[in-house]
Point group: D2
Chain length 462, copies 4
């Protein structure tokens, strides 16, 4: 019996008790929150009917989809066009492989975040010959206008922002269970689609030619299935590909820490006293960016080697308690719990900012702040002022959840690399000669990695 | 006869033909556009009545104000609280001078952008003893919720976002012409309020104890008046204060170029080929920030000394034509016209970005792009895709107007310095012994600059 | 039968055909060449007698040593004192362990470069209770004055700068073969001492309690012995310790590239067009330093991942041929052969500089420059002008050998880490309970690494 | 009566009481000290005869010169060749003007530091048509081998390292007073030559067409003469040219602080705790370089604007007393006296380094260290260990004199800019139509500055 890994924190697709939803790894909502917010806001106001109860038809007469509002298609198309501009690796793959149609005959069911960047991936798969049906891997992360734009062009999308748990599984089922159309490839992010097919449609599942899985959680489930001897199809783990660590951490965080702080607080970086807790790849990225913009950055670190690196890179290595009274901004990147305690929060100065770039939402002891003597004031989306009895305010971002997921965009270029990897993995599995891949979990073969890198470089003008 | 300097570009307070409005120097709208957009969007939907036709009363029963919607006061209060967090110089001035009330008896009429930061200034003036009536210097830059919050606390504000020209002058008049209340100080940004009083209420104008003027345009007008012998009150030019150049240019642009590009395009900086046209203070700031974030930055420069500086700072100095086909991003900061021509735009690659951080909206020859063979597609607020017949897209930001004003925030800390300067100038003029200041234009005295700097440092924990 | 790995390039301890000697890994001669040259120069002039033929006595009456000139002891003492200032990790180890005397009873024979930094190590071992006899692992790298200073304090040193091959083995033998004194520990760098004892004194060798080996070559030999079942004592490989890669490459090269270029050519870095060939750790260090000092740096790289990193770090990735005519400085760091060819050297501009930071002396095709039409002019030690028939000069540093070994210092702090590691390894092996270490090659145990790191940090004020 | 400005510190050309000589502004001795030391050392040993008493003849049979040893000419030629490689602006001027011979007929007497870089200037003047006679402006700064090389090619040089005061004036006189050859142009550095001619040869002086003066001191004297109505020839002040401030301070110090520290102490920058006292251009350069190399840099600053800049640039602004016990390196750049006091030196930790990059030798209170309880130990040239009774050592560089003059090279490229400026000034004065320049002190005209900049850029490949 396979186990569902119920990650209560970042990767959960369901609302937490507190009624707030967290976003998953590869999606940022903030782009939507900021510039494209027109659509989002009108959403909520114009119609409270569930998409499941609202028949819609696209301009070609098809109704094989279920999205919030097909009329947002044009706006969604523009978001996709923006994304295309910085996904040149994928676009160049699309162009090069378009005549060969390496995915001709592929019938792909996908379950991922549905965003402009995913749309570029899906449309690339279509351009390479595939037929696609798609659903969301997270009940909250769908860009409705993008789902509409995809549906308008004929991709069968079943997803909207704010699904219930029942909606979530209903959408997956509608995606898979389509009369006269049997999927032969799976692209999954989290393993829910895979698990659903494995349980509900074992006969269809057996005939799948390959699974491409993106997430830590999903890969973990696949390995469990494999160990249990129940994985009857080859799968590819794209989570552990060569480029991912550097890109998702160092390079990506270097940019998103600035973006996240700026969008939420408009704070000036120059001259700010910043403490970065933890000097792993994420901490290195944060430190480099803030130092470059003129902040005075200190580091706390318990690992001696990382501490020595911080030191050699020119950062003062301190104990948080020593500097807590002077600091303007604290950023946690350790992966540990309670790195910033209530006691320390009590000693921070008025106007200081606390946020988290680390693994989950437990690095800052946010729970300790939910006590009667403190007043919480939501001043913007994702921005709370915690007010002490003496009037002191500490600014808490994203309630201690991941700043880069909640309050900044993930650079499209990084998503482009992930998406290109997924496309290459699908091509590889679909075209591999019988027998090359057994019923096991594989990493992307080296030659595909090289191809990936060169796609990026070529399109990047190298 | 004084001349009105009608700057058609950045400083204009009226709509351009194209129906779009430009923002003035010291304000950024993007903060409002992004996180606080809830209010803005509901504005337009909930009520099309002109504020002039809609009687409103604040919770204290006063109706001596005219804003979009007094009910937004609470939301505006939160924006003010956010701003206060990074305006510690002003807050510390407020605290130190609160018992002395150096502005007791001052009746100040103000005409500036009405933003959260201005609100902190106004409330500081009130805390120091002044009575204030306020209006907007730009028909488009008012944060309605902030205007509401000020009105709620009793400041007489006459301003809303989207005034007509007639509204604009009506607001100024309501601000000045108040029975039983005669202003004795002016705080102006652009000179319109000053000019209106000079023309319409010459007897009131003569009794003014001092004018504090912020803008280039307004200072220019004052000098003209002074030269013509018609300036009958002392005025203080805070535009040319010591700290302004470095802050408004180098330090500020260093941060806002990143912010502006990220909010509009979500572009990844790492690895991008960027050309910065011009290596003055603005160009230096842009180059430093982008280099630090991993972009490959070239500079074009015609001044040999700046060119040599660019070179010594490690930037390749190139001709734009040499690199135009490779470049991912062009940023103009020269102050000249047609730095990027249609011919060059024709040769840019698909997906490249063009934007302007320089003086006005003429650095990029945007007019040349308004031809039938090119399609303009507005993909987000401030973001247009210009589409060539072959499908190539060039991304134009803010239609060639100032990126940092249109698409990013000005860091609150910088505005804090300006606002503190204004407050100090008002205190100085109001308290100066008779005869110290003649009917002329003055710079802020050295001792006040020192005081300003120390306020900043103290509050910055130095 | 064990094999001698005869590395003809950097690690050779004998003169090359050309009559010039290369220095080995962890030593730089340039410190001596520059400031302390007084001694070196007088050396050559004052006395051509071989030290072997010149009986000397130290101030305590001992003659159990053989150095160039015992009278230089005082000058050598000063060099040791300089070194101590930046070797605080070792000094703190010395202080902490001095009362426990963990090496009491240890009789250590050592064969390493004999420099001021080594002297600090040796004197630390003595302070911890050991008796030491020492010889040089390279015929050219001995600092004569340091050898004198050690001999003066009673350490039996057999080494001088400019030994013959016969001298080399004679010194090793004198070091090992000392009546009434049998070594029980070996500290080796290159494996020559180990091999000599293994071959000549097998009975003594068997009783050794442990070998600590520093070099790649020596470790390689040990593994061969071990594989052949002939290693009868436990050995510790300190070459592959955790900190070595980062320190010996990234951090160290970041400093020595600047130092090496400046000492040899006095070149200004600001504005120079530099190409760094290869973006591994060494290349990354060179690029970071030169970019920071205002050089315009490009990278050539064939590995796609490193290339993408260079790109993300803001370096233009180019083909050498594209830029060869513009470049001011070429630095090779690839580890490959003929990275810079004669054809490319032909196209370089007048006054350009070529040097190597990579693995060996074959990255630049120096051999191709030894043709009749080119004139070589030695303008300084380690600096040749290669003159083309048309008068063009290309400046070749260190004849293409490693710049950081030939023309710059290795920072004492880095050597301190290596030396501390060696000391800890000796302590561990000497004190380990019987049976913990078998007749095999070990890495430094984790707990010792932690101890090492903390020594560094503590002494570095972290 | 004109006054001799007797600057007792850096600019003095005579030995101080302590028997040590300081170097003047634009020369660094360290290049000689390090790599070219062969010559220097043999100098002292081979011959104690005064050059005045030793008749020498060059290979062309001329004896119209007086240098240490004409046989060093070949070695000096190589040093000149090295210098030429990074003086491309001057070389390109040489090439462009060579056919026009703009200095044909000019008879120039020069009194400057005699170094390889000066030699490139002199040989450029000769190539442009001038006849030159030269002497040294400092009794200690002459590179003997360069003086020999110049004499060998026919320039009449009268200078050697280690002149007495009497020698100094004798050389000037021999330079000026040459039968049948009357100078018509002066190139001076310090004003001694000018003053000598003005006093001793007033009739020759009157006929001079122009004086070009480099130094602060010399320019000061000229303005005094001019004010007194006694300046009977036009003079050009090249000390205050546009490029000088940036180059001699920011760019130059950015490189020389690293060079100076490395050559003297071999210290590793990474992780070092550095305090830079003063954040003017020199301090900015030092801070930027050290931060870039991984040092943890703090700043002390009393000027509020500079302090705020330091803060915005990311440096912690501290009081020296707060950090004195932790600091590894102190660098003074304030221009003030006793910035580092004995009391503070007493509290520094063992092994810390103190040096001065500021105006003169009084920033560090070195005098206070010359007390009986402290032991001075000269460990290298320019490096003293000051030893406290408890054994603590503080490393003092250059006895508190300017580190960049005493212990590092001035980048040739910077000297190239100065030298090109001098050449252009001579051309301008010599060719100006009668009456353009009166008997006054002028700055280099704008058009010449532009020309200068373009020479640099052109030759720099811009």
């Amino acid at each position: 019996q396979i186990q569902f890994v119920e990650d209560k924190q970042e990767f959960s697709r369901f609302p937490t008790k507190a009624g707030r939803r967290s976003l998953s790894r590869s999606i940022s909502q903030s782009s939507t929150d900021s510039y494209s917010s027109a659509a989002s806001y009108t959403d909520s106001s114009d119609d409270e009917t569930s998409p499941r109860d609202k028949p819609q038809v696209n301009s070609k007469g098809s109704s094989d989809f279920c999205v919030k509002n097909i009329k947002q298609a044009e706006f969604g198309r523009r978001e996709i066009e923006i994304a295309e501009q910085d996904m040149s690796a994928l676009i160049s793959l699309r162009k090069r492989a378009q005549s060969e149609k390496p995915l001709a005959g592929a019938k792909i069911v996908g379950c991922t975040h549905i965003t402009a960047q995913t749309a570029v991936l899906i449309e690339t798969l279509v351009a390479l010959g595939a037929q696609c049906r798609w659903t969301a891997c997270n009940i909250y992360s769908t860009q409705n206008e993008v789902a509409a734009a995809l549906s308008e062009t004929g991709v069968a999308v079943f997803a909207w922002k704010g699904e219930s748990e029942d909606d979530f599984w209903w959408c997956i089922d509608r995606c898979v269970n389509n009369e006269g159309w049997q999927p032969n490839m799976i692209l999954d992010d989290g393993g829910d689609l895979t698990h659903w097919m494995y349980k509900k449609y074992p006969n269809v599942f057996k005939k799948i030619r390959g699974i491409v899985e993106e997430s830590v959680t999903g890969v973990h489930r696949l390995y469990q299935l494999s160990k249990a001897g129940k994985l009857c199809v080859p799968a590819m783990n794209v989570n552990d590909s060569v480029t991912k660590q550097k890109f998702d951490n160092l390079y990506c965080c270097r940019e998103s820490i600035l973006d996240g702080l700026k969008r939420t607080t408009d704070v000036m970086f120059g001259g700010k006293q910043v403490v970065v807790c933890g000097y792993g790849e994420v901490g290195k990225g944060c430190c480099a960016a803030l130092k470059a913009l003129g902040a005075v950055v200190c580091v706390t670190e318990i690992d001696p080697i990382c501490g020595l690196q911080a030191c050699m890179d020119g950062f003062r290595v301190v104990k948080l308690n020593e500097v807590i009274r002077q600091v303007d901004v604290i950023i946690t990147c350790t992966g540990n719990k309670n790195v910033v305690t209530r006691d320390q929060l009590d000693r921070m100065k008025n106007g200081s900012i606390v946020c988290n770039m680390g693994h989950s939402n437990t690095e800052i002891d946010v729970a300790s702040l939910r006590t009667p003597e403190l007043t919480w004031e939501r001043v913007r989306s994702q921005v709370d002022h915690i007010i002490w009895p003496d009037g002191k305010r500490v600014i808490l971002l994203a309630e201690g959840r991941l700043l880069n997921l909640s309050c900044s965009t993930v650079p499209t270029f990084v998503l482009s690399i992930t998406a290109t990897t997924q496309a290459l993995a699908l091509i590889e599995l679909y075209n591999a000669p019988e027998g090359r891949y057994k019923q096991d979990v594989y990493l992307l073969p080296k030659k595909m990695v090289i191809l990936l890198i060169f796609s990026n470089q070529q399109s990047n003008g190298l």
